[in-house]
Symmetry: C2
Subunit: 512 residues, 2 copies
């Protein structure tokens, strides 16, 4: 995509528009949201009590049955979507109007596998309420406190999927309750899809959506998954990088050789791998392979959006233990706009106790490439492969034959897998982005502004979710960043639960 | 050592002299040597039956007792040299003459540890006789064949230390027997020292020699250890490289980081290690650190000697499975004259099944440096360390502190151990070198010429052996190159045994 003057202008206009709230959502008052939250905690704890690792289809079905009932009793029409025994759930709110925009809300009902012994509670499937003690530790308190009296927003519910991603599902149900209690109705046509294999990388979502294209037809997709910005300010995310994997093996002599008799004589594959990797990046961490970054075009509007993200990079560097960062972008957000080329593992012969005086027979590097919507896995992989060949390497499949060895000085294999998930990006000035911005600022105001993240560095299956319907999307994360997602002691901050209900109420009531 | 015109002239004269046999040794006829060999096989097999891993001092003492008796009955005066329970043996032939040169013959009685299960015979300590079958395998034959009838020079005795280094000890005893049977006497004063810890790197030889300086006083040292040139032609070796070890660790973030969120941002230590290693060598395998090779001075005489070594590099490259070699020297021998810098192991995070999408927290390289007499471990280690610092690294001991991490962009540790054994070199025109050349050509003629190797690539404890007495030395290997030294199925070719007796007879009878 070239930054044509027209597109630049559109971006500038969009950015200007984002500062003006044209139409406001009905803002749900904090005390009412709080009351609605309290009324929903019983269901929330019940839902968290049902194991949901999608490796156990029976558990997935129990979740679907429970959720189908929860959506139905709020008036939704539901449909279990077959998926090899691990069904997904579709739900549609009644009162669809032909002249209104239809928004598909995506969440997922499955959770990461658990290692119960690592959890500081009886079971990851038995949610508990905790408060932070004076010593900084989380201590359990009676969960009856959730249902009577004042609830401290800093308390947290601990349990698998409390944040990722059953929390947002319950917030949606509670937001609907709030809307109904006030006698209101959504301002958009509401469809919901609950994925059952998100934690496995959503291998089936595209297939299921393809099979139900008409049912899922919509004007925009809103994804409620992942954490809010570390400041816990309302957050909008417009894309995420994809991932690809590569393995690079440089071959040396046929067998490991005595380094006394052959050091200086038989070329060392670890040295050659080092030289090859070094040829791919400069000393500031920038990839030097021509074309690697060239598809990413960032204009002033994008840079302004990125610069506005309140990242505390001084604190971040201190936490990571680094004095300086790579110089790919001017700041953290900008760095995430570009594809990465990362050595995630490297090995040749042995290090430590088993080290031997040899010239190794091969050296290996495991790489991961983070992709962007404009620079996909196929494009980047080809660039790296061509670069390796340009350095004089003859590439083989598997291991070289004796004939290869006799013929080619430099031998390597390069195995490339683009299966790590595609990148996804939606314009920061798309109708759904503007609509979500209005809903959020209508609820929380503009001081401070919501955090807008153009591209997350990590990979989530956004592309798989949106690619069938090909409509704009926005990710609206609702849970606290320090929720221990995917790990032991996953939790949700109650203040985020209440604000999540308010956010969803805002989205439901915001005219599109 | 600078190649002054005087030295150059000396070398040219020496090279010229080596082609003219001034005084000839008494050549032992092949049939007499063969008869003498046959007469000694019983003792040889007996000696091989005594285990000799120096980790078991009692076994070492049994070997010393046996050998002391063997030398004594041939007229030697012997003395067991105390060495913490693992004595060495000194033996001196009678008839010392004040006007004659004294030669100290070094061999060793200990052997490498064994893994009996890897041996294709009952026990590594039960020597057996084998012949090569039509299918190329070695098959056992009745060892009685050693004592009656014609012995095939291609037959081999298999057993631990058959070649390394009890074979040469028995050849020496048999050469003395031959000399005595003919009513002759040595032309030099003969001293013998048998090391008991050579396979552990001779940690004690210098101390023992220091304690017995007067006893061991000599004009030259001849070392019988290691294999002959692969062609099995008579071989003279004038030095060997030493070894030093280093560990280089490049530090990244404090903990491994998610490569999606931090790839492109937190500097990758594997990438940095690669860049650092790449900065040390060029694409042809030559070290680019200034001064690394500059102390090695090779003149035309040395190059002529090296070029004369009948290495079959085409076959060697085929065997190693490489199309081209590093460009350190013009040929294999020349490459071995230079120090090496070899990556013997490398690692960062995991490769293979356990690979994860992370920016690793550190990357490590295990290096070995082969040293030369002019470029010792301290000199080379300092150059590498200075080079690392010059690339912008702050070096720490152990792991960096938080303060180090906040202050320095590039952090590494460099641990250097110069304990791998020193290099040793003796002039190719030294009196002992000329004397040995004359003895060998007097026995085997000059067509083909003996193989003269200026510097072996591997490290043997020559320096430790010669550094106390500070006299010229020459290494005269006697055993076949394909003897499986240090490994299972070690063996000695009977033709080498007979020729070894002839070689030793030549040395003993060659006027110095």
């Amino acid at each position: 995509m070239s930054p044509t003057p027209v597109r630049k202008l559109a971006l500038l206009i969009a950015t200007a528009c984002l500062s003006v709230n044209v139409v406001q959502a009905a803002s749900l008052a904090p005390d009412i949201a709080q009351k609605q939250a309290q009324a929903s905690y019983r269901e929330y704890l019940d839902l968290l009590s049902i194991p949901n690792d999608s490796i156990v289809p029976e558990d997935i079905r129990r979740n679907v049955t429970w959720l189908e009932e929860a959506f139905r009793k709020r008036g939704f029409a539901t449909q279990s979507l077959d998926n090899d025994g691990k069904p997904m759930l579709f739900a549609e709110y009644p009162g669809k109007q032909a002249g209104r925009k239809t928004v598909l809300f995506y969440m997922h009902l499955d959770g990461q596998p658990v290692i119960p012994a690592q959890w500081a509670q009886k079971s990851p499937w038995t949610p508990v309420l905790k408060q932070k003690a004076a010593n900084g530790n989380w201590e359990e308190i009676d969960s009856a406190k959730l249902f009577a009296g004042a609830v401290d927003p800093e308390w947290r519910v601990f349990g698998r999927s409390s944040s990722d991603d059953k929390g947002p599902i319950m917030m949606m149900l509670a937001a609907i309750d709030a809307l109904k209690a006030a006698g209101g109705a959504p301002a958009v046509n509401v469809k919901v899809i609950l994925d059952s294999e998100e934690e496995k990388g959503s291998p089936s979502i595209a297939k299921v959506m393809q099979a139900h294209r008409d049912l899922l037809a919509c004007d925009a997709i809103v994804i409620h998954d992942g954490p809010m910005h570390a400041t816990n300010r309302p957050t909008l995310v417009f894309g995420n990088r994809g991932a690809a994997k590569a393995k690079l093996v440089v071959f040396g002599p046929k067998s490991p050789l005595h380094s006394g008799h052959y050091g200086n004589y038989a070329p060392n594959p670890a040295q050659r791998l080092a030289t090859l990797l070094a040829s791919m990046k400069d000393d500031t961490g920038r990839v030097t392979i021509p074309g690697y970054y060239s598809k990413v075009r960032l204009g002033d509007a994008e840079r302004k959006i990125m610069a506005a993200v309140p990242d505390d990079e001084v604190a971040l560097k201190r936490r990571l233990g680094i004095a300086q960062t790579d110089k790919v972008g001017a700041n953290y957000q900008e760095a995430m706009q570009y594809p990465s080329l990362n050595v995630r593992g490297m090995g040749a012969a042995a290090i430590g106790d088993k080290v031997a005086n040899i010239v190794p027979d091969k050296a290996e590097a495991e790489l991961d490439l983070r992709t962007t919507p404009d620079s996909d896995a196929a494009y980047l992989g080809k660039l790296v492969e061509q670069h390796i060949v340009k350095q004089g390497y003859h590439l083989v499949q598997g291991t070289p034959t004796d004939e290869d060895r006799a013929r080619y000085d430099k031998l390597a294999s390069f195995t490339y897998q683009s299966e790590g998930g595609n990148a996804a990006g939606s314009p920061i000035d798309s109708p759904v982005a503007k609509w979500a911005y209005q809903a959020i600022t209508g609820t929380f105001g503009t001081n401070p502004e919501p955090v807008r993240i153009r591209m997350m560095g990590g990979t989530v299956p956004t592309a798989e979710i949106v690619e069938v319907l090909k409509v704009p999307f926005v990710i609206v994360p609702l849970v606290n960043a320090d929720n221990n997602q995917h790990a032991a002691n996953e939790n949700l901050r109650l203040g985020n639960y209440t604000n999540g209900i308010r956010t969803l109420h805002g989205l439901l009531t915001q005219p599109f």
